[in-house]
Structure formats: structure tokens, C-alpha cells
Symmetry: C2
Subunit: 424 residues, 2 copies
């Protein structure tokens, strides 16, 4: 295109040089890039459409308590760790960007529509309590005193004060401002050849390999990035990269979700003050209120889809179930229907960390960090993922997170790289 | 803006001169403009956003039989007249534009969901038959042999072979091509100062009055059009024009409708071959199949709305009721939710014709034709409206259409114009 905003380096150009290259510009990739940058490293982030994947759809619930599932205690620990990091992370992004990412400590109300939903939520509460999490039953009368537009027909409501929210679209925008601002102010952080000192508007074709190490990124447009460390944070596409360590299996599967954005007419504001997470005849639905008078209603989970097509049946189900909890949803203005795929893994945990070499060889593949497979939890887990990656860059690995090592579904990994499709 | 496509004439410029000025670029305005042009007249069409109003939402059903309502025999005659003009009109537009406006003679199937819906459709059939219209009951088995994806739970189906369809968005595009093409090929038809020889990208502020006559259009951007005849075809905004004859009341009210466009996945094509017009527990819904593998599902009728906001409850209702008739609707891809206002009148008939002067004065306001208030029938009635306006331009008035005279809701009209807001 010729304009600096659209130009991508070509193979004939000298390689771009940075301390850290992050492949993938969703919430997680941006969070890692920003944390790496504020640890004093020069950073480039590679994405041809930043923030347009799962992050574009995400509601932004920061809900370690509500998202607890049986037998996912390792993941709970990571979610609680990240939840504890969120206030500082949000404050840091706000200070660095001079913008508001929509972080709100609004509480969450878990609501069941019928007796079976009530039983399921009370069963979950037993597990939550066994893990030391505060979830307090309210009478329907108490719940409706807090949220007058809740249906009088609900079967139960449980207060979950620790589950909050952020606006993922604003968060990506804030992180981009923070990254650009630091690169502009701090000459050592600005990367030559990157837009705004950090951004590469291109797709990664593969990893640049040198011997057993990863030395950067090969771009689809033909250019190269040389980086001391490369972080693979491109969600579902991580497994498509050339040059991944031979034997490393990243078993990511797309779990599509439909999600709605709606405007609340003035006379119904606020529709709700808390995030309402419902179980309606066994199907989950949530309503997240934003400060601008909109709400987000989500989300379906479909594993049969092939594209980002919005499902008519999914939209119907969301509107039906949200109305069962809050009948006035029928009076809202439907602004947007969106569908995206979440990167799921077999155990619902992320693929996060360095890639160890076989037992005999010791150590790990130099220069490579994997950070993908965050499934439904990418926004919540961003501060933890960013902190864990920064520790890894510093040479520290916290044994608490070894359950998420990215090779846990792989046969032994070797230092050799898989074939990389080089582009001219 | 400076670009020819966006420039509008200013008041300092000499006035644009044309035989006919048409205010309003919906389907009706375009149809009238094209008919006037092909009768050898130079034409300008004034609209700052052609085709973006009710025409943008319309499904394009050409359904005089299904749209029959009790006690609307005058309107039925006009609808049948227009229906008989449609094949020739569509062929003429196709030949003049070299493009396809999506006119299809697919039949219509009226379907009831329950016993009460069946009773209502059979009652309507009695009225249809009394008016000589063919509507034949099918068994559910016969209906499902024609349309295998119809729900086996429907209560009745009636074949309505005379009700067809067109694609209103493609129709507007085709009419614009036809207008531009003729203006380019025929020097006498091209209007100086109009984009493509016929299009004025501006809004009409009022009518240009000279004595008792209408002599053209005052543009919101400050320019003027001098025209021998001016046709007011800007839907709901007709009553807002300055310079309308004193006493002329155009009682238009917005009747908002939500409408959906969806893609049918390959394995479900064709979802239906006929247009399905359902009555589901007393609420109407329709599914119009297009040749490109999409369907249109509509439409709600809401009189409480203030804007083109899409109603969440409306979308829910359409998806619910369409699924009741064709369960596979749940598996479609939701492409678009749109809402627009139809221009309704007290008797559901259009305001169409010249404006007579009081009995003593005789004659009519020179230079003025009104063509608005087409409510749910604008697309169907376009060929008739165009033919009636062409006859009026030729000095002929068909007494069959006097029931639609535009002053029928007015106190006596005088030749004086109401105040026009002039803009600098």
C-alpha cells in the first residue's frame, strides 16, 4: 500500500531487531508485550489485524469464582493469581496510556431460572466454598431489591462480590497506546521498522530457527524479525507456525461463541448494576453492564462451526435466556451480533511456558515461550500470563504453573525445527 | 468535500433545470423518476442517501393476495394493477440497466402454526376468494413434499401462486444504472449540475413556489432546482417540506419494522423454494428465499420507536416464529439485523396524485404531484405509482385512483404555500 501504517518489511530489507517478538495481537499478546516493554526490553508485536479475534468478542468478565469448574483446581489457582494482579495491572495500563480500559469492580450475581438450575448453582457453591471462595445466597426479594429488573420468577440468586469486569476492546486500545507511548518516549525501546516503534502489521509465517534456538520470526510478507526471545501468543493459529520444535503438539480447537452488544434505553438505565450470570434450564447466559449504557449478552459455545459466522439459533438462545432472567432485555436496542472462536485445549488450561528439551538433553528450547490456549479465560488471565512471561524472560520459572507447560500433550520434543514455509 | 460525487449546488449557483424533479430516492422515487425519464423528460432525483430508508429494509414481497386486508378493496385494486405491471416493469429495468433486480415469480405459501392461525387464514381465504383471488389449501403432507424443511407441526398451508418477489436493494441499484445510462446516452435527458446527469446528493428543504404554482425544489445545501413538475416521494419526510400547499395535511406515521438477513449453509439449500408467510399464534412472520442462498425474515410492526434502532425483542420474536415454521432457521448464519420506519397513513392507502384546489377554484396546484404513504406496499406499488405519475405528467388522471388523492385527510387546500425555511 505504500503508507507507513500498512507497510510490512520485505525479505530484502535488513531484519528488524528487538529484544522480544510477540506473535499475536489479542489481549494476551498485548499484555505480554507491554509487560516485557515495561521491564525495559524493546518489543515488537506481530499481527495484521490486532484485537480482531477472540478479544473482539470477549465480554471481559474477570470471574475466577463463577468460572470455577470441578477438577480444575490448577486453573483456579492461576485465575485467582491473575485476579489479584488485575487492579495493579489496570492501574498501570491506565497510567501508561492515559486512557480508561473499562476495568470495573462491579460484583456478579449468579441467578438460576428453575429448581434444577438452583440445585446446580448450589452444588457449584459447595465447591467454591471448599476452595475458600465467597458466594452468598440471597433471597429473590433481596436480589430484586439490588436489581429491580430481575424477573420475579427466578429460582435463586447468589452474590459473588469478587468477580469483576473489563472492556476487552478498550483494553487492547489502551495497551496499544501504552506500547506506542513508551516506544516514542524511550529511544532504546523503539524498534526501527516497526509502526509506532512496536507494531508489525503482518502475519507470522514461522519461527526463525538458528541451530536448536529460536532467533525470531519469519513474516508472511517476506520480512524477518531477529529477537532474543519470541513469544507465541496467536491463539488458535499457534499450531500453524512453521519452525515449531519437532514433536511439540499444540492441541488447540476452536470453540465458537456468539455474543451480543445492546444499548439500554434511558428509561431502563441501569438495566442491571451487577454482572448477571444465569443458568436457564441448564444453559449458561450472562449480562454484563457497561458504564456507557450498553450491555453485553453472551455467550454460546459451539464446536461445529467453521467460520466466524453468527448463529441464528445462538442469537435466539441468548435473547430467550437473557429475557428469562431480565424481561426488559426485549426492550433493548440490538447493536451488534459477533461470533469468534476461543482457543480451547483438552484440559481447558492454557499452554504457557518454555518448551523443555527431553530429559537427557536438559534445559529448554532457547528463545521460545508459548502462551496460547486461554479458552474462555484470556482476558482474566492476561496479567498472570504477562507476569509469568516476564519472569521467564528474567530466567525465572515459578513451579506453581508447571501444570500448564506447553509440551504436556506432546511426544518428546527435540531441538530441531519443523519445516518453515519461507516466503519470497 | 470538493469531490463531484459529494458536491451539492449552492444558492449562489444558477438553478438546476429539469422537466421533472423527484424528491426522495427510495424504490418509489426511483421508479417514478425512471418512468418519467423514459417518457422523454429530463429528470433529477434529490436524496442525500438514496435507497437507505424503508427500501433498504424491505423484503420485496410482491403479494397483493397475501396482503389483502378486510375493507381495503380500493387498495387491493391498486395492488393487483401494480402486480400486473411488474413483469413488464422488471423486464424494462433489466433491459435499460443491463442488471438483474432479483425479480422472481416464486410462489407464496401461507402457513398457520396452530388451530387459531388456521382459522384466521381460512377466514382470509374466504375474502380472497370473494375477490376472485386463487388461494388453495394443501394438506400438510403436500406442503412438506414441496418444502421438506417445513415443520411437521404446522396446522395448515395454502398455496398462493400469484404472490412473487423482487430484491429492493438490487432494484434501486438497477434503477440508478438505468437513469444514469439514459442520461449519459441521451443529451436531452442529462441535467447540468446533477451527478451522473440525474442525481442530486442533497436533501430537499422545501418546494420552490411561484405564485400558486410549484416551480421546483429548494435544497438544504442552499441550491435550487427549477422543474416543470415536482414529485414529492420522500416517504415520512414529505410532511416536513416547506412550501406545501396551505391546508394540505399529510398524516404520515412511522411504523417501524425489524428484519433479518441470513445465509443458508450449503447442506440446507434451498431452505425453502417458495416465500413462506406464516401466522404463528396470531403473529405474522415471513421467510423470503433469494437465489443467492440467503433468506430474508421479517418483519415486526412497532409504532413506539423513535429511531432506526433494532429491537432485541423484535429479533427474538422473528427468530422464534420463523423457527416454529422452519426449525432449520436455527442453523442459519445471521448476516444482518435492520430496522426502518414504513410511512403509514390512517387508511393504509398511499397519498398519490395531484392536489386539487377548492371546489370553487377548480383544477389543481400546478407543478406538484404527491407520491408517499405507501406503508408496507412501496415495492409492490412502484410500477403503478410510476405509471400513474407518468399519466399525470401527460395530463391524464385515472378516476380509479381518486380514492388515494393526497388531500383526503385535509381541510380545504389553498394555492398559497406554507413557510419555507430558506437556507443560506
Amino acid at each position: 500500500m505504500g503508507s507507513p501504517l500498512n507497510s510490512s518489511p520485505r525479505s530484502a530489507d535488513p531484519p528488524i531487531q528487538a529484544d522480544v517478538a510477540v506473535i499475536g495481537g489479542g489481549v494476551v499478546g498485548h499484555g505480554i508485550a507491554w509487560e516485557a516493554q515495561r521491564s525495559g526490553r524493546s518489543v515488537v508485536l506481530v499481527d495484521d489485524a490486532p484485537g480482531s479475534g477472540a478479544s473482539w468478542a470477549a465480554a471481559g468478565m474477570l470471574a475466577p469464582v463463577s468460572e470455577l469448574h470441578y477438577q480444575e483446581e490448577d486453573l483456579l489457582e492461576l485465575m485467582l493469581e491473575s485476579s489479584s494482579l488485575w487492579p495493579g495491572f489496570a492501574a498501570g495500563v491506565a497510567a501508561a496510556s492515559g486512557s480508561d480500559s473499562g476495568y470495573l469492580t462491579t460484583p456478579t450475581l449468579a441467578v438460576g431460572a428453575d429448581a434444577a438450575d438452583r440445585a446446580a448453582l448450589m452444588d457449584l457453591r459447595a465447591v467454591q466454598q471448599a476452595n475458600g471462595l465467597a458466594v452468598e445466597p440471597l433471597t429473590v426479594r433481596e436480589a430484586r431489591r439490588r436489581e429491580p429488573l430481575l424477573s420475579p420468577g427466578i429460582a435463586c440468586a447468589l452474590d459473588t462480590p469478587a468477580d469483576h469486569q473489563v472492556d476487552p476492546r478498550r483494553l487492547v486500545a489502551s495497551l496499544r497506546l501504552a506500547l506506542a507511548g513508551a516506544a516514542a518516549r524511550t529511544p532504546g525501546l523503539a524498534v526501527d521498522g516497526a509502526v509506532e516503534g512496536y507494531s508489525i502489521p503482518d502475519r507470522a509465517a514461522g519461527l526463525l530457527r538458528e541451530g536448536g534456538a529460536v532467533a525470531g520470526v519469519l513474516l508472511a510478507g517476506g520480512g524477518r524479525i531477529r529477537a532474543t526471545e519470541t513469544v507465541v501468543a496467536n491463539g488458535l493459529r499457534a499450531g500453524e507456525l512453521g519452525g515449531l520444535p519437532e514433536g511439540l503438539r499444540l492441541p488447540l480447537r476452536p470453540v465458537h461463541g456468539d455474543i451480543l452488544r445492546l444499548a439500554v434505553p434511558q428509561h431502563l438505565r441501569p438495566l442491571v448494576t451487577a454482572t448477571v450470570r444465569g443458568m436457564v434450564h441448564g444453559i449458561p447466559v450472562y449480562i454484563v453492564p457497561r458504564q456507557d449504557g450498553t450491555v453485553v449478552i453472551g455467550a454460546t459455545q459451539r464446536e461445529d462451526a467453521l467460520s466466524d459466522a453468527v448463529s441464528a439459533g445462538g442469537v435466539y438462545q441468548l435473547l430467550r435466556d437473557a429475557q428469562a432472567l431480565v424481561p426488559a432485555v426485549a426492550e433493548l436496542e440490538l447493536l451488534e451480533c459477533t461470533a469468534r472462536a476461543r482457543p480451547g485445549t483438552p484440559d481447558n488450561g492454557p499452554l504457557l511456558g518454555r518448551v523443555p528439551l527431553p530429559a537427557g538433553a536438559g534445559g529448554h528450547i532457547p528463545g521460545l515461550i508459548i502462551a496460547t490456549g486461554f479458552f474462555r479465560h484470556g482476558v482474566l488471565l492476561t496479567p498472570a500470563a504477562a507476569a509469568i512471561c516476564r519472569d521467564l524472560l528474567d530466567g525465572k520459572a515459578d513451579p506453581r504453573w508447571s501444570a500448564f507447560r506447553p509440551d504436556r500433550f506432546s511426544r518428546p520434543v527435540t531441538a530441531a525445527g519443523t519445516h518453515t514455509k519461507e516466503t519470497a
